[in-house]
């Protein structure tokens, strides 16, 4: 942004202020002025959105999403190259030990605040050919801790996965039902407590008993879960954190049979 003309930079700063104040009229007016400068407003907006989400600036993310809508950027492009890109940036920083959970949470809130504004426009594009890969996600029965699971969900969503969120305190049978109903590609289970770890093998045993274990990839995670434990109970992986869960799943689905081959 530093190499932009001074006039453009000033308008961007004014837009930031208007967005923070949630002043919709001023946002519209400034967006028009920005367009009149001849600058590449689409590129500026996408870049701004990714930085604002990374920094967890909820109000400003909403404001710049309004800019994106006003100038007519494809909503899917705004989502992927703006909002989700910002979530991936903070996810990578977290993976490298350069960011903490609160930063992920405020980034996540910022991303969803922008997505809420985009939602009505995205519905018009539902006839797209590409169907996102579905992941059934939840915290196991007896555990009400949501934060870790929600972060995995956010980062999976930011990477284009469709997450069926079962919430927390989820009975083993519910994971199986949801996987079947949604013809899921993966199940992601989490627990923060040693006391509820034993719920995870219950899910894997049910998958075996139902004869659908090979139709799904199974990720297990949470503070007490180790790679050794994942292997012991027959899960595919225990990613180190939310960001690596998304990275692992993206890589793993490349050679995984498609939904139609597995479920039909």
């Amino acid at each position: 942004m530093d190499d932009l003309p001074e006039e453009v930079q000033e308008l961007i700063e004014e837009l930031d202020e208007a967005a923070e104040d949630e002043d919709e009229d001023t946002i519209k007016e400034l967006t028009q002025k920005l367009l009149e400068t001849g600058a590449d407003v689409e590129a500026i907006t996408l870049k701004k959105l990714s930085i604002l989400v990374m920094d967890g600036e909820e109000e400003m993310t909403r404001g710049w999403t309004e800019v994106a809508i006003q100038i007519g950027i494809d909503p899917f492009k705004t989502l992927i190259e703006g909002l989700a890109a910002g979530m991936s940036l903070i996810g990578k920083k977290y993976e490298q030990g350069e960011a903490f959970v609160p930063q992920l949470l405020i980034a996540s809130a910022a991303m969803y605040s922008g997505m809420d504004l985009l939602a009505p426009y995205m519905k018009q594009d539902e006839n797209s050919n590409s169907k996102p890969v579905t992941v059934v996600i939840g915290t196991v029965e007896g555990d009400v801790h949501d934060i870790g699971k929600s972060l995995v969900k956010t980062l999976l969503s930011a990477n284009g996965f469709n997450c069926v969120d079962l919430g927390n305190d989820v009975p083993a049978s519910r994971f199986i039902e949801a996987a079947k109903e949604n013809k899921a590609t993966a199940i992601s289970m989490s627990t923060l407590m040693t006391t509820t770890m034993a719920e995870m093998p219950k899910v894997l045993n049910l998958l075996e008993n139902e004869g659908i274990r090979d139709k799904l990839l199974v990720m297990v995670g949470g503070a007490p879960i180790t790679a050794g434990y994942a292997a012991q109970i027959g899960a595919n992986v225990s990613p180190h954190d939310a960001a690596s869960a998304a990275t692992w799943l993206k890589e793993s689905i490349v050679n995984f049979p498609s939904e139609s081959v597995r479920w039909d």
Binding site: P102, L105, A109, D146, T195, T196
Partner: protein
């Protein structure tokens, strides 16, 4: 060579940084299914029946040989007493808090001490003090940041913890919540000490670097923990501080709260932590799951590793898992005694 001590003398000497006859072995929460059944207690009655509670938790002392008796079983008492929704779990799952307030003004603690779970805890402290005068009677309490998280929701706490460092208005909001938590902490602490608790054990799980940034811990949590800690000292009682996760980045702050000892979990490099904490004793950091499925060799190795690295007492990294077995707990206690015989 220090002459033989009672469990209570041993724990208090360690907290007072004095020599001990053997390192104390201590627990946090102790809702152990085997002991619940052995004592004839029944779920969920043992949460609100002082006699059942004492009969169960005292087995950790009389049967397994631990030096403290810890009451109550879980970190839900304060929230339940404030009217928040609590799911009572099962015999092998601890109760958990399921709701939170939307603003600090909703928090009403006028009748806090009249709540059945609070009353049970206080009665159980009195009863265990009478029945087991040689054990270190320990009240298990929710520390200020974690209680703030219970009041406003843990995710909201985590998000506000970063926003409050950036904006004064958000900091005021944080302090409004925190002051409620501290007031509740004071009421409960005073009642526990009055009931006869030898030690107050504060768990500040939500002050962990897993949930909030170290910068927040130093700027907001340390003053809050110090405030309640000073209050407890003023009542004439020592206190311990437990925080989950890898707490090495905040150990210096934990040591500065005035806590008489710090409890850390298995993710912590004990050698590094004890070096940073200086003369503030650290206890820990045996993996809790070993009490459920660990081999004798694993339990002995982890116990010795912690003590070799400078721990002044052996403790599990978190509460005692409900499915722990008494033979494994006894193996752990023996490992600490054997280490003491060789090294003290």
């Amino acid at each position: 060579m220090v002459s033989e001590m009672t469990s209570k003398e041993r724990v208090l000497a360690m907290l007072d940084r004095k020599p001990v006859d053997r390192v104390p072995v201590m627990t946090g929460s102790a809702m152990v299914k085997e002991y619940i059944e052995k004592s004839g207690s029944s779920w969920p009655d043992y949460h609100c029946d002082a006699e059942m509670m004492v009969n169960t938790v005292s087995l950790m002392h009389t049967d397994a040989g631990l030096d403290n008796i810890v009451l109550p079983f879980g970190m839900f008492i304060e929230s339940a007493a404030l009217g928040l929704e609590v799911k009572m779990g099962r015999i092998d799952i601890q109760p958990s808090v399921r709701s939170f307030f939307s603003k600090p003004e909703e928090v009403n603690y006028d009748n806090f001490l009249e709540n059945k779970y609070v009353k049970t805890t206080l009665e159980a402290i009195k009863l265990s003090k009478e029945k087991y005068p040689d054990a270190a009677i320990t009240a298990f309490l929710v520390a200020p940041i974690t209680l703030t998280g219970d009041l406003m929701g843990a995710e909201n706490l985590s998000m506000l913890s970063i926003k409050c460092l950036q904006k004064e208005k958000q900091m005021q909001k944080m302090q409004d919540w925190l002051s409620k938590a501290l007031e509740i902490n004071r009421i409960y602490a005073e009642a526990c000490v009055e009931a006869g608790a030898d030690i107050l054990y504060y768990s500040d799980a939500s002050a962990s670097p897993n949930l909030v940034m170290p910068e927040f811990y130093y700027q907001v949590a340390v003053p809050a923990e110090k405030e309640i800690g000073d209050f407890v000292h003023h009542l004439g009682c020592p206190w311990e501080l437990h925080i989950c996760g890898d707490t090495v980045p905040i150990i210096e702050g934990m040591a500065s709260t005035g806590a008489d000892c710090l409890s850390v979990e298995q993710a912590v490099n004990m050698k590094e932590a004890t070096k940073i904490a200086g003369d503030v004793p650290i206890v820990g950091n045996v993996t809790p799951l070993l009490m459920v499925e660990g081999t004798e060799e694993q339990i002995i190795d982890e116990t010795r590793k912690g003590l070799d690295s400078g721990a002044k007492g052996s403790m599990l990294g978190c509460g005692t898992p409900p499915l722990s077995t008494s033979d494994r707990i006894r193996t752990w206690v023996k490992a600490a005694a054997d280490w003491s015989a060789e090294n003290l």
